[in-house]
């Protein structure tokens, strides 16, 4: 007579637990090995290497334009490649395209949702993408006819299962990269709305992303509520490098202009620089007096300056090489929520919960 099934199942259960325990030990060992390997190459600090570099003088940067028109918090903005147009999105559901030279509004779209957390300009300058609490990313072709209703030509491209936190066109109008509160990033074909690749690995909401400069190849970096910054291969969907040194949510990530490094801004009130070839954090930009979170970061054209927009309404300007703050800019009357340097580096734009955008130069 056959022995009862229950003891066999018990044996299977035991084997499963042993395998899990074995894998857990293996993962702990690998994590330690990773730290060890990274530490071996940590022979010097960035600011030590930069000791002989000439210090930066005083900066005179002021608000040169104020863009008024949003009815509520500005959440996101992006520059057009023409270096003068800007798209911005707000909690009130409006997406506005501005001419930053004249401060005139050129287009306005009302989204069917509030909290439009993400917007992006297409490389051609002929369309904008946006989304937020609707869990989608939609593309609006910009019409030359000011009277045309932009909403009529709207195309839904991306569908996530939670809010859209960021979006970016790749180097053409044909593909869009998105990040979401659902913990994933995704690459979409604009024309068909087809999902081309999805990126899994974050353990919580993904809040930001940035594409590597085109010369560096097909990668992008994302930051999330899991305190991790992940670098992804766009073709394979694989996470190729991961950095976990921040102590809180990462709100913004931006590549260094050469593509060899990226900066991050976090709710832990610090900005950090990670070098991709050294595979580690190489600088922290912080001060004891800065206790509010960083919402957005961007580099000046040469990568020497790092601009950070903070929740204490200020912009701190950092010397990337020396690690020191070179300037603090006041002007906004509420949190700075978004910050981008213009394509030719002549100015940078900030958006704020005070409903305005400012151009600084």
């Amino acid at each position: 007579m056959r022995s009862p099934l229950i003891p066999e199942m018990a044996t299977q259960e035991v084997q499963l637990n042993e395998t899990l325990a074995h894998l857990k030990t293996e993962s702990e060992t690998l994590k330690s090995k990773l730290e060890e390997e990274r530490a071996k190459l940590h022979d010097v600090e960035l600011h030590q290497v930069a000791e002989k570099v000439e210090g930066l003088g005083q900066f005179v940067m002021k608000t040169r334009r104020t863009l008024k028109g949003h009815g509520n918090k500005v959440l996101c903005m992006d520059w057009c490649k023409d270096k003068r147009r800007i798209v911005s999105s707000s909690q009130d559901g409006k997406v506005i395209v501005w001419d930053a030279f004249t401060t005139n509004k050129e287009h306005a779209v009302t989204m069917p949702c509030t909290w439009v957390m993400a917007c992006a300009y297409a490389p051609s300058g002929c369309a904008v993408a946006c989304g937020g609490l609707d869990n989608k990313c939609s593309v609006y072709p910009l019409s030359l006819d000011k009277n045309e209703n932009l909403a009529a030509k709207k195309k839904s491209v991306a569908m996530h299962t939670n809010y859209l936190s960021a979006c970016s066109f790749t180097n053409s109008d044909m593909q869009i990269l998105t990040s979401s509160g659902d913990g994933t990033c995704a690459l979409w074909d604009v024309e068909s709305g087809q999902l081309l690749q999805s990126f899994h690995g974050h353990a919580a909401d993904v809040l930001c992303l940035d594409l590597a400069p085109s010369e560096t190849g097909n990668t992008f970096v994302s930051g999330g509520c899991d305190k991790k910054a992940n670098v992804w291969d766009m073709r394979s969907g694989q996470c190729i490098q991961s950095f976990e040194t921040h102590e809180s949510d990462i709100n913004s990530v931006r590549y260094y202009p050469s593509g060899d490094a990226f900066a991050s801004g976090s709710d832990d009130a610090t900005c950090r620089l990670y070098d991709l070839r050294a595979d580690r954090e190489v600088a922290i930009y912080s001060k004891e007096s800065i206790i509010f979170g960083v919402s957005s970061v961007d580099f000046s054209l040469s990568g020497r300056l790092l601009f950070g927009g903070y929740n204490d309404y200020t912009i701190n300007v950092w010397d990337v090489l020396k690690g020191t703050r070179v300037s603090i800019l006041f002007g906004h009357e509420n949190r700075v929520s978004t910050l981008r340097v213009s394509p030719d580096g002549t100015a940078f734009c900030t958006g704020s919960w005070d409903h305005t955008l400012r151009i600084w130069a």
Partner: protein
């Protein structure tokens, strides 16, 4: 079964860690030197860093005002 998905998650984690551990790395001193070199090479073109001749930064030009 939850234990099976835990198992596959753990296997995936271990594979991911193996991939990350195999990345080729360079010394921070070399990486830092190259970051610095890029900054210095491009400093002259960085308008926010060095400023540009008056009149060539469109944002620094005052907009024309009409006196009523």
């Amino acid at each position: 079964m939850t234990s099976n998905s835990n198992l596959s998650n753990m296997r995936r984690l271990v594979e991911q860690l193996k991939l990350e551990a195999s990345v080729e790395r360079i010394k921070v001193s070399q990486a830092a030197a190259e970051l610095q070199q890029y900054c210095l090479q491009n400093a002259a073109k960085d308008a926010l860093l060095v400023g540009v001749p008056t009149g060539s930064n469109p944002f620094r030009e005052p907009r024309s005002c009409a006196v009523v």
